[in-house]
Structures are given as C-alpha cells and as structure tokens.
C-alpha cells in the first residue's frame, strides 16, 4: 500500500537518483536499479520522511510480509489480513535470533477466499480461516517456494487461534534456524529442510518448540490486535447504491470502456464502490517499470479517485481499491489519456516478468524482450478476450523471480554454452488449486518463443470446451497434445 505522498517521494527518487523510472517487483516492492552507492544514505533519508525504509530487503533474514492486494475491500474476505501482516512485520523487524538464517525467508498471509497472494509457495503461508466452532484463526503452511526447487507448502498448523500466531511462527523459525542446511546455498531454503526431514517429523519438532513458548510473553493480546487493526480502518465511505446509471449508461454506450471494465474492475465490499487494477503491461514497456511521471500521476489519480492510496500487486500492477462506480468512466478516460488504460489484465499479454539479463547480474537470459515479443504476437484484443485468462510468467534464471513455475505458461531463461535459451512449462497456477508447471520438452531460442506460444494457444483453442479456462483444458487433456504440435515441425 502506498499513499500519494509516498508515490511522489518514489517519483522524486526515480527522477533525482535513478534514470527516471523504478520497477515494481513480484514482491510488491519497488526496485531502483541505478542509484549511485554514495547517494543511498540520502535516498534512505527521503524514504524515512514518508515512513518508508529498505530494511531486510536483502540478506538471509525474514523479508517483507505480503498479502492479497484486495485485502480489506474484497467481497469474499474471511478477515482483513493486513493487521496480521503488520503484527508479523513488527515481530520480524530486527529479530535478534533470526537475522542470520540459512537463507532468505518470505511470509505471506491471506484472508480472502480467492488467494491472490501466492500464499502456498511462500516459506510460510498463513491463511485466515474459521474452525468448526466459528472462531477465526490461522492455517499455517511451511516449506513452500519457487526458485530452483519449486514446492507447495506443507500444512504445519491446521488451526491456531490468533493469540498464538507469533509463537507458532517463532517455533517454525527456530527449527529452521537450527536445522536448515548451511552447506549449500541452493539447498538452504526451508522447503528443502521440510522435504529432507519429512513433513510429519518436521511438524513434531515444531510442536516440541511451540510447547516451550506457547502462552509465553509473545502471545498476542486482543489489545494489540485491535491496535494494529486501527491502522487499517475503512476510509470515509459514502453511502452509495451499486450500479448507478452514470456507470451502466456508459457501459452500454462505449464498448472499449466496457471491455476495460470487464477485465480491470472488480466488485467491492461497499456498495457503490469498485476495485480497479491498472495494468502496467503495455507492449514495449518492461513489466513493472514505472516512470517518475507515472508515479506522480498515480499519486494525483489516487487523491482524486481512491482516498490517496494505491496498492502494488505481485503481478506488478497497481490497484486503486476504493473508486466510486459513478466515477469509473472519468477515471478510465484519465488513464486513457496517459496510455495506462490497457485492458489486458489477466489476459495472455498481462505477463509477469523478472528484470532479467538486462538489469540483473544473476540472470542467464533476458526476459523483458521475450515478454515484448509475445505481446507483439497477439495484437488483437478481441482474440485475447476470447482466450480468457492465461497467465504467462517469465524468469531470466532458476532463481525464479518471475515465478515461472506457477505460470499457466512458464518461461525460464537458461544458458547453454553462452547462448540464451528458453524452457517452457505448462500447467502451473498460484491460485487456491496451486500447481507447478511441467516442462514441455527441449528449450527454444528467443526467436522461436512467440510462435511456440501461438501453437500452445492453438492447441488450447482446438481442445477447449465452451468457456473452459486454459488451465482447466490443460488439466483435462494433459501435456501431450501441446507437445505434439509444438515440436511437430522439428520431428
């Protein structure tokens, strides 16, 4: 979540200390790639002025806690996860025992029924849930992750009540800190420990630790939970009706607006309001890149339309969480004027992509030009809409910052004797029915990729039943028909 004040500060940093743009990451953070080292103290001072920081953004510590971008406004919410993220942020900030873990550590909390936070592929994923007696608490998974060895987390705590959240997390961390592998950094994440120990035995160790600290001083109090909730109180909503004529008339009259509305606008818990996602995936622009002028403009739009606040998503888009339905058309017009009205949200060209070899020292291969070449392959918006939701994720290397394992179509850059190649996986998903993609076959060159994607889409179209989504068709027919057509020519 970013206030307009914070957005303007980020714009200033992009302008004065970087090359005029920043990069929204899949961690819902912003990255500045070109500041001079000697400017960093000044940049941190600027951030501190608007209550921002760069603490624990690298190193083998607990990183920033993430949640669903629709937290607090979604209609399907069990409870707003943000206060618990804040509680975890405080607990994990400068935690003296867990600053030098075997490897970095990421926690996500999800309070919505439709998980938008990729919770199951985090080192720890916590779902807000209700038990049989109607009490709200957490179901806690551990050992999920992407990177070189993609794994879906194992359930450690089927249900813990809220007061026990921090002691449960601390018990997991303690077992990991003590027993996680430190001999090989590629095997040091908690997912490897859980796998090598076995989920059952890992759980027993965690429970043995938990017994020692449960009901201790870290047990959360109602007062603290209430205090943290107060940071996320509802804005001053007006009493409005759903679907005002000002909206429905425009939807009927303007097909382009209606198309954008269908893709980018979601229902809001409060009547008369809407959640708008602004898609940053324009062809020719690196996914997640945002210029200083755009940041300033987002700040202005947020002030005018959404209580001076936006949210960055792990899909590298920006959410305006509280827009009045009666103002949606104006809002869209404004976006259009700035070329931000792209309506490919959730569609094939809304690609998730890491910075890749153009910016990242770790990458084997470029990823941004790959995204661009795919977007160019599908210029027809009507066709994209007809295809429906197809998630493409691109990572420039095995570290998987583009989360390629959970892309419906995943693309991974690999280095073969100094040349860049791309491995394609199918069938991944980061939603509730999370799954990891399967490799389709031998890797492709950069030039081949757009045609390969086109063939995959062709197979989908030939096999889909009615409105079946890509992922469902894939699950039904399996990988073979895709394999056949994609490799048909070379065989």
């Amino acid at each position: 979540m970013l206030s307009s004040r914070q957005l303007r500060k980020l714009a200033l940093i992009a302008r004065d200390y970087d090359k005029g743009y920043g990069h929204f990451t899949t961690r819902q953070n912003i990255q500045f790639n070109w500041p001079a080292l000697e400017d960093v103290p000044d940049i941190l001072a600027h951030l501190a002025e608007v209550e921002m920081h760069a603490n624990q953004t690298s190193g083998n510590c607990i990183r920033n806690t993430t949640t669903d971008q629709f937290a607090g406004v979604a209609v399907d919410e069990i409870e707003d996860a943000r206060p618990y993220c804040e509680i975890i942020r405080q607990w994990s900030t400068f935690h003296p025992e867990f600053a030098y873990l075997p490897r970095k550590f990421k926690i996500a909390v999800c309070g919505t029924r439709e998980d938008q936070a990729a919770t199951q592929v985090h080192d720890i994923g916590a779902y807000l849930t209700r038990n049989d007696s109607g009490e709200t608490g957490f179901r806690i998974l551990a050992g999920g992750g992407l990177g070189r060895t993609p794994v879906i987390g194992e359930e450690i705590f089927p249900f813990v009540t809220k007061p026990h959240l921090l002691t449960a997390l601390e018990a997991i961390m303690r077992v990991y800190n003590r027993e996680g592998r430190r001999d090989n950094k590629y095997k040091a994440r908690i997912k490897i420990l859980v796998k090598e120990t076995g989920a059952e035995q890992f759980r027993e160790k965690v429970f043995a630790e938990w017994e020692k600290i449960k009901d201790g001083p870290q047990t959360l109090t109602d007062a603290e939970i209430e205090r943290c909730k107060s940071f996320f109180s509802d804005p001053d909503y007006a009493e409005l009706a759903d679907k005002p004529a000002t909206l429905t008339d425009r939807l009927a009259a303007d097909a382009l607006f209606a198309s954008w509305h269908e893709q980018n606008v979601r229902p809001h818990k409060k009547p008369g309001y809407a959640i708008v996602t602004v898609c940053f995936k324009e062809t020719g622009v690196a996914p997640g890149d945002v210029t200083d002028a755009q940041l300033d403009y987002l700040a202005e739009l947020a002030e005018e339309y959404s209580f001076s606040e936006v949210r960055v998503t792990h899909h590298q888009n920006v959410v305006f969480a509280d827009v009045r339905q009666e103002l949606l058309y104006d809002f869209w017009k404004q976006l259009q004027a700035r070329a931000l009205a792209s309506h490919n949200l959730g569609l094939l060209t809304d690609i998730i992509c890491c910075p890749g070899g153009d910016f990242c020292a770790l990458a084997n291969a470029k990823s941004i030009p790959i995204a661009e070449s795919i977007q160019r392959q599908f210029p027809d918006h009507a066709e994209l809409k007809e295809l429906g939701e197809i998630r493409i994720n691109i990572s420039g290397c095995m570290n998987a910052c583009g989360h390629h394992h959970v892309g419906n179509i995943g693309i991974l850059g690999v280095d073969k004797k100094g040349e860049e190649f791309y491995q394609v996986t199918l069938g991944g998903s980061s939603k509730n029915e999370a799954s990891l993609g399967k490799v389709i076959g031998p890797a492709f060159s950069q030039e081949e990729i757009p045609a390969v994607i086109a063939k995959i889409v062709e197979v989908y179209k030939a096999n889909r039943q009615q409105d079946e989504a890509f992922i469902d068709t894939y699950k039904r027919v399996g990988i073979d028909p895709f394999k056949e057509l994609v490799y048909a020519q070379t065989n």
């Binding site: 083998n60 400068f94 003296p96 025992e97 600053a99 800190n177 870290q218 109090t221 007062a223």
Partner: protein
Amino acid sequence: MPKLIRQGVIEEKDPWTLLKEATGPEVLQAVPGRNFIVPLQFWKLYRDELSEYSGEISLWLDSHEDVSAIGPDLHSFPLIALNFPVFSDGRSYTNARELREQLHYKGEIRAIGDVLRDQLFYMSRCGFDAFALRHDQDPEVCLQAFNDYETGYQASVMEPTPLFRRR
C-alpha cells in the same frame, strides 16, 4: 591483550584460555592451574580426567552443536562459549536463547569466533553477556553497538516482555 567485552566493560585480562582443539587430557596437565574453555566433545570424552584438573573448566560449542547436549552438568559451568564460525551462521543465537530461556542458565555466555561490531546488539538480546571480539575489531567502537537501538519489538532475553505488552 585480549579483545574482550564482558558485562558492558572492556576487560584488560581474560581469566580463561580457549582450547580450540586437543588430542587428549594430557595437554592440560602440562599447564596446571589455568582456566580452560574446552570443546564440548572433548569434555564428553574425558570428563573424569578433567574433573581432576587443578584449574577451572568450562565448555565451548560450535554452531552445529545443541546446548541441550550438555545435560544436567550445565549449571556447574561458570561459562559457556558459543562459536560463530562465520558471522552469517546464526545458529548460536538460538543456542544462547535456549540456554537463558529454556535451561535458565545464569553463568556467562560468551560469543567467540567471527564476532563483529554489527552483530553485538543482536547477540546481547539473545543472552550473550561476553564477547571475544575478532582481532581486527576496535573494542571502543564495539561498545557503542549495544546502544544501536533503544528497544526492540520482540520478546528477548534482555527484555522478556515484547513491546506490544509495554505500550
């Protein structure tokens, strides 16, 4: 001169000698009347011989060793040293907390090995009260590390009540 901070004070003299490794207990007989910090496994192997030694004996544990392995004799040792083979190996933080919070150890807990200024604050919050600094560290500069932050969010050995219970 040792570079040792103990209870927040720079010590001119260290009454203890760290025995990093040893083949057998005869090593100690050559230097009677000293106070030795010996490896955990060395003590486990030769505890009878060591109990007859003329000086005091305490233990050091490497980062992969668990303090629960010391057993019921723990409280008879005036000092337990925990090693940091590299500063980025964080296992000794957990060991120190376990000594203080679970095993209620009241003696000195000394950080040895790759002990640097930037980690002292965290170490002290986990229950370390003595720090054998790496040779290149300036003890005067290191003393300031204990005031890096006024308080912490979490429960710790220094402040067992988390901040949210103190507001």
